[in-house]
Point group: D2
Chain length 284, copies 4
């Protein structure tokens, strides 16, 4: 992504049938746009789900997101498709929740500050007060939440999150979000799991990996759903290890994997490249 | 690629301008086809070269390659584009040239025999007579060429190659092809270089890598042009090494890298995924 | 490993205490040997298991394995250690069991024939008669076993295996070995599991990986024990995949991972680099 | 490395001959120490250079670095070896020189602050004044140097560097150090080169990589010597790229490679695992 992106992105998703690519690209052409990137995917014939991402430039004096939406909604109705349109100029608002481990937080702050992420950070929530000065030194609001039992505070967070964020990132957040939170928030939440799912669900995956004597460790960024560590996987990073690695060095190597997997997932997500598809994802 | 592929593939290449994707996909739709895979790429605006690969299924009772060509040639003329159309049922004829090292030859024979390659092998040429029984045990013609100085024999090879092959693979072929051969053959030739180009051109790259003390080695599959080891790169494979690796273990590791890089390049090439673009390649 | 290795290898394993390295290296020196490679590992202090691999050259006119054993057994007794000594000239006899998939079998045959493996192949057993001509073309004995229910034949295999092999490799062997076989054979058995353990135990791991929507797949070479796919892991190989990969391409990529993981495990094992340590391995 | 390391490390380097391992390990044992890690390497017989790293614990009430040095110096004399001994409690003082790109600086600051690096940071020198507030927020001295032509300032830096640092890291430092600086400083300097050496020496390696159409990019951490980008390589990191990557995304990916290669090199160096050997390195 260049920092000065001017394009629009359309995500189109429906039952597969002939003519969809033609329909979308013909419409872009008729409106005067020029397609700069296009990708599509059809799941296996038995399911036949069709996904398409089309990125195009168009005269902004004549067109904006709302006017484009009206045009594409008509086409979508024809194919009984779900169609979403995004303006690359609109940065997604990414709320961050984080516990004490700071490596993923720092990675996100760095990517945001250096302009590599198509996102803003409206707030950082943590149950570790020690992050306050760092976060505030970036000029960002910081909220302290004592515990997940602190339901009144969770409600406060929820109110802010619903209002101020387009999606949430759990950047190593150890508190469990209540089912009510998930239901009420009702937007995407991305979690970084410090293990190679589906292998090591639950707590202390590096200890589990050490005890199993694996020769490769991994980290997994995935959407949160009601299942613990069970939502659709967005990205995974892996690294070889040996018998010399103890839980301490596994943890050190794991931190790098977590940063990379989460950065990749968030980067793709904020460029509208990630589409859920049942319990899986399509990442264009 | 599933072994029972029935699709047609169009490669389209021209100066970028609005309407190309729409034009191609609309034509596929009008002919009654269904796009199953589509990818495109535009080089940076200063150059503005546009490349597209579209794969589609269509009623074979009504359409074959020739009839489709006529339709798409009209469209191509409109965009001043170069358009090539391929039938996935037509396997490419891959002539193999190989010297004594046999690991790349065996990999290609294996992929061919197990049906993983969209290609046939019309012949194997070698300056090592020892490969004859192996090659003939696969039921394939084997030609022995004593040396590159053996111009009359090179002419024989050339005649066979021109007539019986769609492209050539130098699967660790140590003899230098004469400029006349390259000019007269005039089809694609893929070479596997046992080094991480552009680092270690020329002879004995593992020795060069050892002497430089690098911590990563690689192998490169590339198109052959008039420059020694200088043609467009198709695929590269790399692996970490340490001070413990001597030229012997570097060579062993390198053999695996060579097999993997060449297999990937040939696999992509025979599925019509590789397009030359100046001194580079687009690999869809 | 160079093909002309002349060294001896000592594997030493005991409770950690000061003086072991000194004891072994001093003895090698006193006997007139020169250490060419040495590695050691101590598990975490709570367990304190010590492992050492020492490779040395020594005058073969004065020393052979038996004479060296006598010297080192005395030292081992002093440290209450388990000590094993190997002559690099003695190739290990590797019996192969294989079902229909042939990629791992071919890899082992290739490595053996090209002299890259410190092993001989006394026999190949398969429940797929189609491998006979290939195996016999290498001049190796081939035994056909119809099914795992064929107990009398399993007994025949067992008798041959016990007598003619130092270890067995299950190079994609789909029949389950009976508990009696495991007990009676009583030597090491290495299996290649076509999945990234401990994630996808059991049948059709690539289908499991596809259904889970993972972004990385793997293969695992491990020792066989009484647990299905549960023995100590020796080596693992991994590769990134995307939503475009269907079970067919996952299988193709997986075959390469299996070959590489198994080749690495067997190569290390036959150079006496692999030591079991509870449910894990130390790989020097 | 655990943060609470208490061990001593000996680096021993000489012409290969029998008895060295025995000599060192026997001495450690006699002094009452317990070897916790040992590694050795001999270059090929024609050169016969021997390197050994031995890490051991010993009663600190009886032994310190000076007393141990006296004991090992006697042994070293016997083998005409170069022997260096290090106390893991003594953190190396790492001076940092950095230009405007901040990713490597941030990585080093993070590793230092989280206690993952066996080093202190006595100062940061930069020709970019904008780093001052960041560096000083960590409580570290910051020196601004306008340009490499600013010889008087270079002399000031040199004076500080000689006095306050054990080694220097060029964490993306674009100014060229004068030959006088290198000569006068006379300690190790580690540079991160943003390219896969020896391929892309000199300026703008990502542009070079883009123009060559490579399918893999890399970054290289190496010792600085009088040759531009020509010193012994310590570590390299690589990543696959495609035709879709433009110089902007190559740069983004490259930044991650640089961070990882430099962090690995500095981490190994400060644990006394890196030994120069002519134009190469041994990394234990």
């Amino acid at each position: 992504m260049s920092s000065a992106k001017e394009s629009f992105v359309i995500l189109f998703q429906c039952q597969d049938r002939p003519g969809i690519v033609a329909g979308v690209s013909e419409l872009v052409f008729r409106l005067g746009g020029n397609i700069v990137d296009a990708d599509q995917h059809t799941t296996d014939p038995s399911q036949g789900n069709f996904f398409m991402r089309t990125e195009f430039n168009i005269d902004r004096k004549r067109w904006n997101k709302e006017r484009l939406s009206r045009e594409f909604d008509l086409l979508a109705a024809e194919f009984r498709a779900e169609c979403r349109i995004f303006d690359s100029r609109d940065k997604l608002r990414m709320g961050i929740l984080v516990s004490r481990p700071d490596h993923c937080l720092l990675e996100l702050l760095y990517l945001w500050k250096s302009g590599e992420l198509n996102a803003t950070i409206p707030f950082v929530v943590s149950n570790y007060e020690g992050h306050r000065s760092l976060v505030e030194s970036y000029g960002l609001p910081f909220y302290f939440i004592r515990s997940s039992k602190d339901l009144r505070l969770e409600e406060d967070i929820l109110r802010i999150a619903v209002k101020e964020s387009d999606f949430l990132v759990l950047a190593r957040y150890m508190l469990v979000l209540s089912p009510q939170f998930l239901t009420s928030y009702n937007k995407d939440i991305i979690n970084i799991h410090h293990g190679f799912l589906p292998s090591f669900k639950g707590a202390d995956p590096y200890r589990q990996a050490f005890d199993e004597g694996v020769k490769v460790i991994g980290a997994t960024a995935h959407f949160v759903n009601e299942l613990l560590d069970g939502g659709p996987i967005i990205s995974q990073q892996v690294e070889h290890v040996t018998h010399r690695d103890d839980p301490y060095t596994l943890l050190r190597k794991g931190k790098n994997l977590e940063k990379r997997a989460l950065a990749e997932a968030v980067s793709d997500y904020t460029e509208y490249r990630v589409i859920r598809c049942g319990n899986k994802t399509v990442v264009f």
